[in-house]
Amino acid sequence: MDLAYITYLVVGFTFAVYIGIAIWARAESTKDFYVAGGGVHPIANGMATGADWMSAASFISMAGLIGMSYNGYGGSVFLMGWTGGYVILAMLLAPYLRKYGKFTVPEFIGDRFYSDTARVVAVICLILCSVTYVIGQMKGIGVAFSRFLETDYETGLYTGMVIVFFYAVLGGMKGITYTQIAQYMVLILAYTVPAIFISLQLTGNPFPQLGLGSTLVGTDTYLLDKLDQVLVETGFAEYTTSVRLSTLNMFAFTASLMVGTAGLPHVIIRFFTVPKVKDARSSAGWALVFIAILYTTAPAVAAMARLNIMQTIEPENGSYLIIEERPEWFKTWEKTGLLRIEDKDGDGRVRYVADAQSNELVKLDNDILVLANPEIAQLPNWVIALVAAGGLAAALSTAAGLLLAISSAISHDLLKSTFMPNISERAELNASRGAMAVAVFGAGYLGLNPPGFAAGTVALAFGLAASSIFPALMMGIFSKRINREGAIAGMLGGLGMTLFYVFQHKGIMFVAEWRYLENLGENWFFGIEPNAFGCIGALLNFAIAMAVSRITAPPPARIQDLVEDIRVPMGSGVAHQH
């Protein structure tokens, strides 16, 4: 069967499932809309969290980032950072925020720091990091459509918007939860199937996690040793040891991604949907299991696909691929612009080396590693169709989770809690649907007209979550002494410092001409790149909050009682009544 036809069939089928779920899981109350009724099983929530968390970037780009841009070991920052955050989330935040039993992250900050100002500052931080994040997802949807279904970018984006609109507006968190479970299954199948095939082909081991440490089929050479050797011969750094910038920078980058992960509102609110405190703890464990399936497969995909590409181009030492004889997948991806050859010396062969002067594979996009994987491994068409559906599932599920975080902050924290406290439940439910519709169109608009700074923004989202939201939540639980003044000053200080540092080196709003310092290692604070700065922002937030709290009045007694109460699981059923 024709590839395009199968792809339409597979993607169409998954969309039909999502819409079916949306009709079945309509929201009847605000509790349904914000926290899916609060009765989601911890394993189901773990799976939904997996899909919520793993975005188009994790699915399409991460293996390529590890295998190419970060040249192997350097890419470990993403693997450790984006999983280690769940340990922090499970032990420091999720159970206590679940115990508090409200609907949103700013709601906790507003109540704990007894201040509408604190709540509004939290809403601003939330919207800043969620909006920057959602732009990337909308772009991912458009790109996935245009690459796999050969529609244009706009048509793809509109189709994605209609699907998200349907289940997010109708079902809120309830609809999103159940579609995310279906989307998790699609994306994990789409990620692991090609990986298993490639691992089998190269090493004979069906588990990519083991294949990565195995010998190549028919030889005594280990895959990683071979890869190191091939890369060193072509002038690249060794795959298994090349550090990203410096050890300190890797440390800071990993820490920033971990803390940022734990502070992302769209992930935190997923833990409000389980019935009990102990479910919130175990659900974080399950989420990590479901995420780890992809995150331990990704480094294998990275190394194996990189080796495949190197060996396609240089099948034998010193003898390069003849351009006329290049495989079909090469031509397919040249059309998309992700791959480009330039025969500089006119010998009719492609040289792929580290030296930019003589390198002839002038464009090799990171995303190729995952997108072209099935074709490079000569897998059947249905696997390619599955990868298309998986990429879309990853982008749609994350977009929906982010949109819910944004719309609930608007309808619940701004409208209900701050400006219109007397609004009825029915009216609030309608308002939350309205806010969701606005958020979907807003995100769609930004996806269609991406601002110049869109490319740099997903990393910024982590920096902002790490430096503003995470410290406020953690101190709210672990300290009775941090007061309103301290928390507000800390959030603004951490947020401000992180924005300042990023803009200083990358330009105000990422316009390069507007930067006031060259984005060079020597100008960086201890050699820490702007993407890795979130953890410094977080430290600053902690320091400011503690200092300011010391010199201002302690929180009132009822707040200290509230903190005592959230530290003990008992009685969460009562707290959930609004």
């Binding site: 470990s76 693997l79 999983t83 032990m91 280990y222 440390f251 102990k278 699981p569």
Partner: protein, 89 residues
């Protein structure tokens, strides 16, 4: 629902924090320790095709994280029971 005394609640919180510190230490050692700071010496040791430091950075730390969270879930459940602070069904 019986109310826990203040001292019992304080003791429960102290034990909770102690457990947390222990597990955060493991979390730190396998990722920042083995995966980043000590990666070079560990790379001298090999398990099959994996250099040990590289393995911790790309596989081992993640598996350990899962173990940490589930250990925490079990230990906290026991602690909740010991202090009689579990949630009502």
């Amino acid at each position: 629902m019986s109310k826990v005394t203040e001292e019992r609640a304080a003791e429960y919180w102290r034990r909770n924090k102690l457990l947390m510190w222990k597990l955060m230490t493991v979390w730190f050692v396998v990722s920042f320790g083995f995966g980043i700071l000590l990666v070079e010496p560990l790379n001298a040791i090999r398990i099959g095709g994996y250099k040990l430091g590289f393995w911790f950075a790309q596989q081992g730390s993640i598996f350990t994280f899962i173990g940490i969270v589930f250990y925490y879930v079990r230990a906290m459940h026991k602690l909740d029971q010991e202090f009689g602070v579990e949630e009502d069904d």
